[in-house]
């Protein structure tokens, strides 16, 4: 995965930052590289330092330690207006006194481009996001989605190498979000601009990105391709955060020269370990299978009671209790009618690719 030296547009080297008045570091020696044309996402819970990373890259915050390097060289001490990157603000930050067209022209005007040229370029950029007919409007007369697209056009109009987006879809409703996700991905491919995209929606991060950086309390928890994070989480935290996983306690015991795990007193022969003792296993919701209680095929099953069923459109989430374990499972919505709260069920777990974390 590591990019060859020289092909990156952005590189952070051991960046650390503590906000004045805080004792805890907001960023703790963070290093990563973003390749040219890459869709790079930063994922993490609230307060994990995602915004701080973006603001450091953009130049609104100075790191206490470390360097920010862009293709042209070290930019750590360069002011924001001299960096070859653009930010899409969560609040859009469209200038209220300028029309959409004038907003998009703004960066071109700042660099001294002539009026004709910049009008043409602005129109092109607005066309990319299907906003050209609204160029003459003032921002407050637009809907949220339209403002979002205008902000996007303004950010890409001067073709920067790098675009920073801080939860750009946060203020939009679900449908608009999905539409905008498509717009963003196709825009990114079309322009070949590297995106650094901050979100706390793991679905969004996994579906759109080339690589994902997971942050936890100012540190990098894991960096990798979406499928790596999903199938090979390196820590419980990542498994839980990225994969919609149940974290279940396992006990490994010696068995024929190796070790076999049991959950809730039931042994699962396909779960093999290399040492004995207590551990935790991450089981994604879609690896939980639910059968009627009477059906007993002889393979390892846990028996439980359905506590709650959540209808999510294409699938349902079932919340079950087995003794003192809580297990969540995800099923196709077609089975919604066959499962009701209070029902006794038999639960199968698909543990073939489950990640085990020893305590």
């Amino acid at each position: 995965m590591q990019q060859a030296v020289g092909s990156y547009v952005l590189s952070l080297e051991n960046v650390a930052k503590t906000y004045p008045g805080n004792t805890k570091r907001a960023l703790d020696r963070v290093s990563f590289e973003v390749a040219a044309g890459e869709f790079f996402s930063i994922l993490g819970p609230s307060g994990s330092g995602k915004t701080t990373i973006l603001r450091t890259i953009a130049g609104f915050e100075k790191p206490d330690e470390g360097r920010v390097v862009m293709a042209g060289g070290d930019v750590t001490h360069l002011p924001p207006n001299r960096r070859d990157l653009r930010t899409v603000f969560q609040s859009y930050a469209l200038f209220p006194h300028l029309t959409i067209g004038e907003n998009v022209q703004y960066p071109l005007r700042m660099s001294g481009m002539g009026k004709l040229e910049r009008t043409r370029k602005a129109a092109e950029a607005l066309e990319l996001v299907a906003m050209e007919p609204l160029a003459g409007r003032l921002p407050h007369l637009l809907s949220g989605g339209q403002r979002q697209r205008a902000a996007l056009a303004r950010a890409v109009v001067s073709r920067p190498q790098l675009l920073l987006l801080d939860e750009p879809l946060g203020a939009l409703d679900l449908r608009l979000r999905q539409q905008m996700q498509h717009t963003l991905v196709s825009l990114q491919k079309e322009l070949g601009i590297a995106f650094v995209y901050v979100t706390h929606d793991q679905g969004e991060a996994l579906s759109m990105s080339d690589r994902v950086l997971v942050m936890r309390e100012g540190r990098i928890a894991q960096l990798g391709r979406p499928q790596d994070l999903y199938f090979k989480p390196r820590s419980e935290f990542v498994a839980e955060f990225v994969g919609n996983s149940n974290m279940l306690p396992v006990e490994f015991t010696a068995d024929h020269g190796s070790y076999v795990g049991s959950i809730g007193g039931v042994t699962f022969p396909e779960m093999r370990g290399d040492k004995s003792g207590k551990a935790r296993v991450a089981v994604r919701y879609d690896n939980v299978h639910i059968y009627p209680a009477k059906e007993n095929s002889g393979t390892s099953r846990l028996s439980g009671i359905v506590e709650n069923v959540l209808f999510l459109g294409t699938n349902i989430e079932v919340d079950m209790r087995c003794g003192d374990l809580r297990i969540m499972g995800s099923l196709p919505a077609g089975r919604a009618d066959s499962i009701v709260a209070g029902q006794a069920v038999s639960i199968g777990l698909d543990l073939a690719d489950a990640s085990v974390f020893h305590v």
Binding site: P79, T87, F95, L98, L138, P139, H140
Partner: protein, 565 residues
């Protein structure tokens, strides 16, 4: 009868008057419309053998049109106020930028410090400049004692520049308060977006900050201009012959010269000229776009921004301007304890004799008592009327309620000298004699709108669903009003009352026309100064200043305790 109707009423075009609206229309007619129409009417009359002739004529206007002296005076009047407001803006705009955008801690203290002079008697502020600029003033005595001048110069006082200087001094707080809010309102994300899009600091100022603040600057500028252009006291106190303005001429038509029709025509000419200036100022600084409200509303720099050159420059500017605002006032306080009839350094012994002298002065005590009575009456009338008018305008669907609101606040926007004579005409016609009643009516004409505006602003910011929630929770309309609306507007109403007290206690310009022989305290002081100066005037002003300050502090304290939103 319901106290308030639900706002949306479709049948707007039916002309219908219901009971609560009657007082609004009555006030509008009696205090605003009729007196102003009288002014216009009077300007078309003439005077023969000392009596007004009731025959319409254009004579006054023709006389003005052909009088070179009038044009020169008009130009000079506008020039003084424009220059004063311009100099004021030069100091106040960057200062507001500094306080609104660069300062993070103690912003409210820095703000109040600039605004306090607004509450201190105008007369006192003007008078203190006389202490500095006068023949025996501080400036002269220090120049003489340091050997720069041989004899005291009369070049400082009684010139056009002393008027401009004093006007600039008066203008600073007005312009500061108007622009500060605009600077604070700009979301930090807009500034960052501009930098992010490649703009330098200068470009960000020209293309983002200036367009978003120039409207407020124009408003502050106009406000300062309006206040100073109608001021005939300052020019007569510090301007002498060279500083005469149209306002001085107008006031003399209602005094010594006693030519009301000519004075009325002059007033109309002044209003026209002022409207043109204010119109141009507002037109040249248009407002475009509105904040959509989804920007992060963070005034001030991001935390972590370290003091830089701009910050240091801003601090110095702020310090210098505040020193400029307070030095004259402090000087006056110091001299009120100085055992000398000369207002000059070095100071003599500490004394309280000027204060003691006040206690034995029956004229002063009578005037102070009168002032108290006037203030109580004015505040009672203004707060009761202002609050109920605000409620009526907000909750009843008055036809053209926006226009009515504007007309009710018209007296606030009139140059004081014009408001003074308008109120003379209005009270004269219904037979109110000069004296307390006239003063109360005249002062209420502009203090009532202030209370009304304060309460209206509060009402408009209230969440409309609060009232609905109250009704929904089973309260009647009357109960909702008593338990929800009233407590929420109480702070604004009390603020209006306190402001009214200080305004009434300090008012000179309008009151002077209405008082006749019954002088209020500031009028009494003004007359004392005209007929010769005693240091006890310093003492009176010090006491008045203390009174105003404590009122402000009480107001601050109350509003702090009620700072819910």
């Amino acid at each position: 009868m319901a106290l308030f109707a639900t706002p949306a009423v479709p049948a707007r075009f039916r002309f219908r008057i219901d009971l609560p609206q009657v007082p609004v229309y009555a006030w509008l007619a009696l205090v605003v419309l009729i007196p102003n129409l009288l002014l216009i009417g009077t300007s078309f009359l003439s005077v023969a053998e000392g009596r007004i002739k009731f025959e319409p004529t254009l004579g006054n206007y023709v006389r003005l049109w052909h009088s070179a002296g009038f044009w020169r005076l008009l130009w000079k009047t506008l020039q003084f106020s424009l220059l004063g407001a311009f100099l004021g803006a030069l100091a106040a705009y960057p200062m507001a930028c500094f306080v609104g955008r660069a300062v993070r801690n103690n912003r409210s203290i820095l703000t109040v410090l600039v605004l306090v002079p607004l509450w201190i008697s105008l007369l006192m502020r003007v008078f203190s400049w006389r202490l500095i600029l006068g023949q025996n003033g501080v400036l002269n005595s220090s120049l003489v004692s340091s050997g720069i001048l041989d004899t005291p110069s009369s070049a400082f006082l009684y010139t056009g520049s002393s008027v401009v200087l004093t006007f600039a001094y008066i203008s600073i707080p007005f312009i500061f308060v108007s622009t500060l809010n605009a600077f604070e309102k700009i979301p930090q994300s807009l500034i960052e977006a501009s930098q992010d899009l490649g703009a330098t600091t200068v470009q960000t100022f020209c293309h983002v900050i200036w367009p978003l603040t120039r409207r407020s600057l124009a408003i502050g500028f106009s406000l300062a201009f309006l206040v100073t252009v109608g001021d005939y006291v300052t020019p007569s106190m510090v301007g002498g012959i060279n500083g005469t303005t149209l306002g001085v001429l107008i006031s003399s038509q209602f005094g010594i010269a006693s030519n009301w029709p000519f004075g009325a025509a002059l007033s109309i000419a002044l209003i026209v000229a002022v409207s043109v200036v204010v119109g141009v100022a507002l037109w040249s600084c248009p407002q475009r776009g509105v904040f959509s409200g989804d920007e992060t509303p963070s005034g001030g720099p991001p935390p972590g921004a370290r003091p830089r050159l701009g910050f240091i420059g801003g601090s110095i500017l702020y310090g210098v301007v505040v020193a400029f605002l307070y030095a004259p006032l402090l000087l006056m306080v110091v001299f009120s304890f100085n055992d000398s009839t000369l207002q000059a350094f070095p100071l003599q012994r500490l004394t309280f004799k000027w204060y003691a002298e006040l206690a034995g002065n029956s004229g002063l005590i009578a005037a102070a008592q009168r002032s108290l009575v006037v203030a109580v009456c004015v505040v009672l009338v203004s707060s009761i009327v202002g609050t109920s008018f605000a409620l009526i305008l907000h909750y009843r669907n008055l036809l053209y309620s926006r226009a009515i609101e504007l007309l009710l606040t018209l007296p606030l926007a009139m140059p004081s000298v014009v408001l003074g004579i308008v109120m003379v005409l209005g009270t004269e016609i219904v037979g109110v004699p000069p004296g307390l009643a006239r003063i109360v009516i005249g002062q209420a004409s502009f203090i009532m709108p202030i209370t009304m505006l304060l309460v209206l602003t509060r009402l408009r910011r209230l969440d409309p669903s609060l009232l609905e929630a109250s009704l929904d929770l089973g309260a009647s309309r009357l109960q909702s009003f008593v338990h929800v609306v009233l407590p929420l507007i109480r702070g604004a109403a009390i603020g209006g009352m306190l402001l009214g007290v200080t305004l009434s206690a300090d008012e000179v310009m309008v009151t002077l026309f209405l008082a006749g022989p019954s002088q209020t305290l500031p009028i009494w002081v003004f007359n004392q100064m005209r007929f010769g100066f005693t240091p006890s005037v310093n003492a009176v002003f010090t006491l008045l200043g203390l009174f105003a300050l404590s009122t402000v502090l009480i107001g601050q304290f109350i509003s702090r305790r009620r700072a819910i939103d």
